[in-house]
């Protein structure tokens, strides 16, 4: 099962390697991991997308909680939540492909943020499936480069991950 784990961690050097080291040492999967400071610069927030049986996910959250620098851990995928990912995709845009690419970007509510004679950079946000479907919808031979941020996630409504 796919899980999205959000955590707050002391914003100190080495914090990221403690988390990633834990995953590799214990053989847990990381599908994506994002990290950045919060509004309180002494804290960082991570979103980790992982897969595993219930037992493994239970161990992952327990082991994360055990790390001395980790302040809080929540499996946000256990209840209503929102996930977003940012993708920047550079595509070849010449001749009739140029019009078509623009049309596809519009359909997926993407924005063209850079254009040359022969290429576009399209910015797209959404959940993982939306970004995947965009890639599926365009002619893949036109893709020059893609970069994805990995997922960030947040619980809906009253579910708040804070100190």
């Amino acid at each position: 099962m796919r899980h999205v784990i959000a955590l707050l961690i002391e914003n100190e050097s080495g914090a990221l390697s403690r988390v990633s080291g834990l995953f590799s040492a214990r053989g847990y999967n990381i599908e994506s991991l994002t990290v950045a400071p919060t509004e309180d610069a002494s804290l960082s927030r991570m979103t980790i997308v992982t897969t595993g049986s219930d037992d493994i996910i239970e161990q992952i959250t327990k082991q994360l909680n055990k790390l001395v620098d980790v302040v809080k851990v929540v499996d946000i995928s256990e209840s209503a939540h929102v996930e977003r990912e940012l993708m920047l995709i550079k595509v070849r845009a010449t001749g009739k492909d140029r019009e078509e690419m623009k049309r596809m970007a519009d359909i997926f509510r993407g924005r063209i943020i850079d254009a040359t004679d022969s290429s576009y950079i399209i910015e797209l946000t959404g959940n993982q499936t939306k970004l995947d479907s965009f890639i599926g919808a365009i002619d893949t031979t036109l893709i020059l480069e893609t970069v994805r941020s990995g997922i960030v996630g947040i619980g809906r409504g009253d579910r708040i991950l804070k100190l």
């Binding site: 040492a25 327990k62 082991q63 055990k66 100190l163």
Partner: protein
């Protein structure tokens, strides 16, 4: 008050009432050694290899209720320390290790004797720090001690660059530290403890299984009281020996791979299993699927939530300090009006006594050749069962655990988790320093002892009168046993040729060495050794080369599938 970083380090150790630091100097820690030189409160034990410094400090902690402290230099000093740190980590031993680092400006430049100590040790410490400012040293060391001894204990490393120890800063030692990210649970959940008690009292075939957590939280006394009151059978793991008196009739011996028949059968066929500060290790329960196949309710008390339901599913988890929880459990038992099912318990004991009557620990003694079990039995007699016993790793370790009956906690020091050969002598050093008047014996093998043999020199310098009982079978015995049983008797590299004359070797270091060849001389040699209160005596027992450790549950097998003796094969 303004002090140098090095002076601050030593001041902090004084504040923490550290008696001994075990260490080895080098370039990156010269300022710290200089500060050490100019005071008398903290004494330094100069080992002969950094690994031994960590082990000795670890043993100091194991045999007392304090935090062990070690000091090593950067680069090779730190890498030599890693085995010791990992050993302490696997057994949750509270320690603070201070390592020197190259100057801040040189970090990352592949400087002389630079390694990424924080990176290398990260997976084998509870936590570690790199201190970049002398003003941060005091609070960091305070945090290190706090982390080491609270919650699930463990080693904490503080890496200090040379310039940081040389520069000055205002010194102030905080009385306490708050860490918003670290708040271990201490008290167990009341409702859960009540549930556990009810289950226990209603149990028809209860069994209590305790591990190192009982020793670490100093819970042997409340445990013993509670277990006696409940009248239930109990087993202590390799890490938990001495948690309950081994000579008591409710004690069934050790469980697991080389545990007793009665302990393993009772674990397996219990209907309620109370696990305390233990972790259902593969060496204890064998194949987890086989173990889970027999229905039983499990209550698990542990300070570390991640130890609960990790290898077996637990019905009543109780997170908290073992001692606190046991005291609460005892209090609730006193108040409880719930009747215990004593009739079923009596029937259960009848079954257990039947298992016991197999007398699985009996061995064939000999007049001709020394049996290792006999040596340990005599060691127990000669020391009145009251010594600190350390061991290395191998067959001798199992014989020591099986035949020395530990009645008190913190008397048995061994590397249970990592299984590190070479801990035996440094462990004895740490225990002897912590208990100068106590009898301390190291039960070892001719292979293990050679992994830190250089420490005979440290023992001479600091006059440590430990007794080394070398169960010399001229084999990497435990390896040989597995090769005999599981690899068709192909003894690949398990025979060690060209062994030294250990008695002479001990003499060369200025100690007394005695070689013992005949069973009739075993007791006399032991008495002679322990009568020499001020001398280190190295007893080199030439034992039966082919003796194996039984009973045995093979790796991957279930607890009830035991080989009781060689005749079972």
């Amino acid at each position: 008050m303004v002090l140098t970083g090095a002076e601050i380090v030593i001041r902090c150790l004084q504040e923490e009432k550290v008696d001994y630091v075990f260490g080895y100097p080098g370039g990156a820690v010269l300022f710290i050694y200089d500060a050490l030189f100019q005071q008398e409160k903290v004494r330094h034990i100069l080992v002969r290899h950094e690994q031994a410094a960590i082990h000795a400090a670890d043993a100091y902690a194991r045999s007392t209720e304090t935090v062990g402290v070690a000091l090593v230099t950067s680069g090779p000093g730190a890498t030599n320390a890693v085995t010791g740190i990992a050993t302490a980590y696997c057994d949750s031993i509270p320690m603070v290790i201070i390592s020197g680092q190259v100057p801040t400006a040189a970090i990352g430049q592949d400087a002389f004797q630079e390694v990424d100590t924080v990176g290398i040790t990260r997976p084998c410490v509870k936590h570690n720090f790199l201190v970049k400012d002398p003003a941060d040293i005091a609070v960091t060391i305070k945090k290190a001690f706090h982390l080491a001894k609270t919650g699930r204990p463990g080693p904490v490393l503080v890496d200090i660059p040379k310039d940081v120890s040389a520069q000055s800063a205002e010194y102030h030692y905080p009385k306490s530290v708050e860490m918003r990210s670290y708040n271990p649970v201490v008290k167990g959940h009341q409702g859960q403890i009540k549930k556990a008690l009810k289950l226990l009292l209603e149990a028809k075939r209860p069994m209590i299984y305790t591990g190192g957590g009982v020793i670490l939280s100093d819970a042997a006394a409340p445990l013993t009281k509670l277990v006696r009151k409940l009248g239930m059978p109990i087993t202590n793991t390799l890490m938990g020996l001495g948690g309950y008196p081994a000579t008591d009739k409710q004690y069934l011996g050790m469980p697991g791979m080389h545990g007793t028949y009665e302990a393993n059968m009772s674990m397996h066929f219990s209907d309620v299993l109370l696990a305390i500060g233990a972790r259902f290790d593969d060496r204890v329960i064998g194949d987890p699927a086989h173990f889970a196949a027999e229905p039983r309710k499990i209550i698990h008390i542990d300070i570390d939530p991640s130890s609960i339901s990790k290898r077996v599913k637990v019905d009543v988890p109780i997170v908290g300090d073992v001692k606190e929880v046991l005291e609460e459990l005892a209090r609730l038992l006193d108040e409880s009006k719930h009747e215990q099912d004593t009739a079923s318990l009596a029937t259960w004991w009848k079954q257990i006594d039947e298992w016991r009557s197999r007398d699985c620990m009996k061995y064939k003694n000999s007049d001709e050749i020394i049996k290792p079990q006999y040596v340990v039995e005599k060691l127990w007699e000669v020391t009145g069962g009251d010594a600190f016993i350390t061991s290395d790793v191998g067959q001798h370790q199992m014989w020591a655990a099986q035949y020395y009956k530990f009645d008190k906690p913190r008397r048995w020091l061994n590397s249970g988790g990592l299984g590190t050969m070479g801990v035996g002598m440094p462990y004895a050093m740490g225990a002897q320093l912590a208990h100068p008047d106590a009898q301390v014996a190291c039960v070892t093998g001719e292979a293990s002892i050679q992994m830190n043999i250089q420490e005979l020199s440290t023992c001479k310098q600091f006059r440590l009168p430990i007794k080394i009982c070398n169960l010399n079978n001229r084999y990497l015995g435990m390896v040989r046993q597995w090769q005999e049983l599981f690899h068709g008797g192909r003894y690949s590299e398990s025979y060690m040729d060209s062994l030294p004359d250990f008695a002479k070797l001990a003499e060369a270091y200025g100690h007394i060495g005695i070689r013992v060849d005949r069973p009739a001389d075993v007791e006399g040699a032991l008495r002679e050794a322990f009568s020499r209160k001020n001398d280190l005596v190295f007893l080199d027992f030439q034992i039966d080369q082919t003796e194996n450790v039984y009973p045995m549950v093979q790796g991957g097998k279930g607890l009830t599938e035991m080989i009781l003796s060689a005749e079972d094969l």
